[in-house]
Amino acid sequence: MRVSGAKAVVEALRDEKIEVIFGIPGGSTIPFYDALYECAEKGDLRHILARHEQCAAHMADGYARAKGMPGVCTATSGPGATNLVTGIAVAHMDSSPVVAITGQVPRTMIGKDAFQEADIVGIVTPITKYAFQITNASEIPDTMRAAFMLANTNRKGPVLVDIPKDVFYEEVDYMEAEKVRIGGYVVKSGEPHPYSIKRALGLVLESERPLIVAGGGVIASNASAELVRLAELMPAPVATTLMGKGAIPEVHPLSLGMIGMHGKGEANMAAEEADLLIAVGMRFNDRTVGRMEKFGENARIIHIDIDPAEIGKNLGVDVPIVADARKALGTLADRLLEVGIRKKENEWSKRIAELKEKYREFYNSDESKGALSPKRIMKILRSSIPERSIVTTGVGQNQMWAALHFQVLEPRTFITSGGLGAMGFGFPASLGAKVACPDRPVFNIDGDGSFLMTEQDLATAVVERIPTVTLVLDNRVLGMVRQWQCMFCDKRYSETDLGAVPDFAKLAEAYGAEGIRVENYGDLESAIRRSVGAEVPVVIDVPVSRDEKVLPMVPPGKTLREVVWFG
């Protein structure tokens, strides 16, 4: 089939079974959009027109995480491409399969500082799994296949394909690409090595106080069922990282909730007291482990990860298992069944129950420092929306309140910028998630500061009819920084006061979305319940006191034991 380069890109997207792309056209991608025009007419490749390329990237990311398939975004050369950067960095840190297609100035102009030229391949190389620049249309089929293969295999991550404008016009014989090879890249089976499993099993059988710490890798590899099976067989309580939320239903008796700087008391204390840590699909991030050299000091550690470079990167471990989380957990559970299951009731499970009881009252108390209590807002949200709803978050206090107090029941229903911590992620990610799962209600828990970074894509939500609901926890400050200023800077609140604008309900209405301001818990609950099936995007403005803190908190550089409960 003799086609233009632009058409070849579209054909390649079809071959990858891509149904939707998020983007904004520009000078260098005019020929690409011309090829998309026919798709729009046939209705077979949906394009969602964003209002900012950063949002297009976050949408593709939210789509990828909700659906478990690659998300695709596109931008023009220069500023279009550089606007994608934050979104690509988020996907990189959280190992999300996003493929970005950027236009580039024509080949003869590359390197001449042409209008809207940026060295996007150079810019994104450190934050992608791979960045291609196509130099000839004949490379398109193989390159596109390679891009999706790289993005969606082994440890997943973003890939960028940069295409000069004149390449879009060049003719090419399009044939679906066969298997492609890139250097030394091997798609791994993910099977654990039998010897590692044997050693891990030995540690499991010797342990008295095991704890499983599950990270985002468990969700990425769809390993939740295997995780729960292993936990129940051992039995071992399960703490999750921020990225691991949803790996085990948080109402499961063995679930301890999130571990780390803003982790739950029981999760952090269990990590301190455990004699065996099974860390799976997590990477011992500083926000997760507190003081690195003290983490798991008295425990032996089994580390399961698909990426061999994660083994020993932050923390030395006793038994590394380089494998897919699902396969490793499943195999470990199978071996454990063969050697026999241990007794269910033991000292450790009593201790865990005791820890949970000890902190129960703290989590149940609803007292607030004026306005509405974030804890109770989260509980009302959980009880007012269907179990299968998807929740995305902004970054900051809103995110940590959600992580601490919003119980996630299914994998891929809690989507957050964990690694990069990019404010503004939640709202566009909610749009991507809703496009991926139109039959699920999607709620974005956001802060006022975070939401204002990407709210212009309310226009996208309204025009493209993507009805998600945003809860703005509205304290009119950059709350997390303010909290640190309160706790560690002697209340010197430097540049964290945002002032009393805007009116979020009116802002939503200006876009043609529904805006609701609530003042009490009853109004909040009815607003949430009403918006579950809403056909237009909804913004619910929820007042929260600026003095409200995320607690408990492990101060930076401290061990998980040195937690602060009041402030």
Partner: protein
């Protein structure tokens, strides 16, 4: 092996634009401190060898090797044990040699070190010396006494000793 012993990392990479940039970018981004890096051709078309030397303990080198092996263009990468590998560096040094007495001393050292004069003028010599870094350093230390005008080193290239090849698996 001592903490600050020289380590040699040898990588076979696809010969395509941007690969050196990717390798160098990763080294910078992850905060590794390298001593030398060289790039050149191999027995195979479209395959280049990058040789990196650095000082550091085993854990740091292992982490660098693991991170570099994640770059898809890297075909094969391993650490070469200095005892089990042949490695060489080349230096060019321009020495002032106006006085005849000095000049003959320099020529003596050149012969001892099996170096070569590759250019000569009335007032100076350009000398090529090849060998292990220690030998080159010893030669340069001697030349300092005569006055080094300028100097250039290539960085280290290395191969493992014996019949096996890093790319044998292909």
């Amino acid at each position: 092996m001592a903490e600050d012993e020289m380590r040699i990392i040898s990588a076979l990479v696809e010969d395509r634009p941007g690969v050196l940039f990717k390798v160098a970018s990763l080294i910078r981004r992850r905060g590794f401190n390298i001593a030398t890096i060289t790039v050149g051709g191999t027995e195979k078309e479209k395959v280049s060898r990058i040789t990196i030397t650095m000082k550091g303990n085993a854990a740091i080198v292992e982490q660098l090797v693991k991170q570099l092996s994640k770059i898809p263009d890297v075909i094969k990468i391993s650490e070469l044990e200095p005892e089990a590998s042949a490695f060489r560096e080349l230096a060019l040094v321009k020495v002032s040699a106006a006085e005849p007495a000095k000049r003959s001393d320099i020529l003596n050292y050149i012969s001892i070190f099996r170096a070569r004069v590759i250019d000569a003028s009335k007032d100076s010599l350009v000398i090529e010396v090849v060998g292990q870094p220690r030998k080159i350093q010893a030669f340069l230390d001697l030349m300092k006494g005569f006055g080094i005008i300028e100097m250039a080193k290539t960085g280290i290239v290395a191969l493992s000793r014996g019949a096996k090849s890093a790319s044998a698996a292909d």
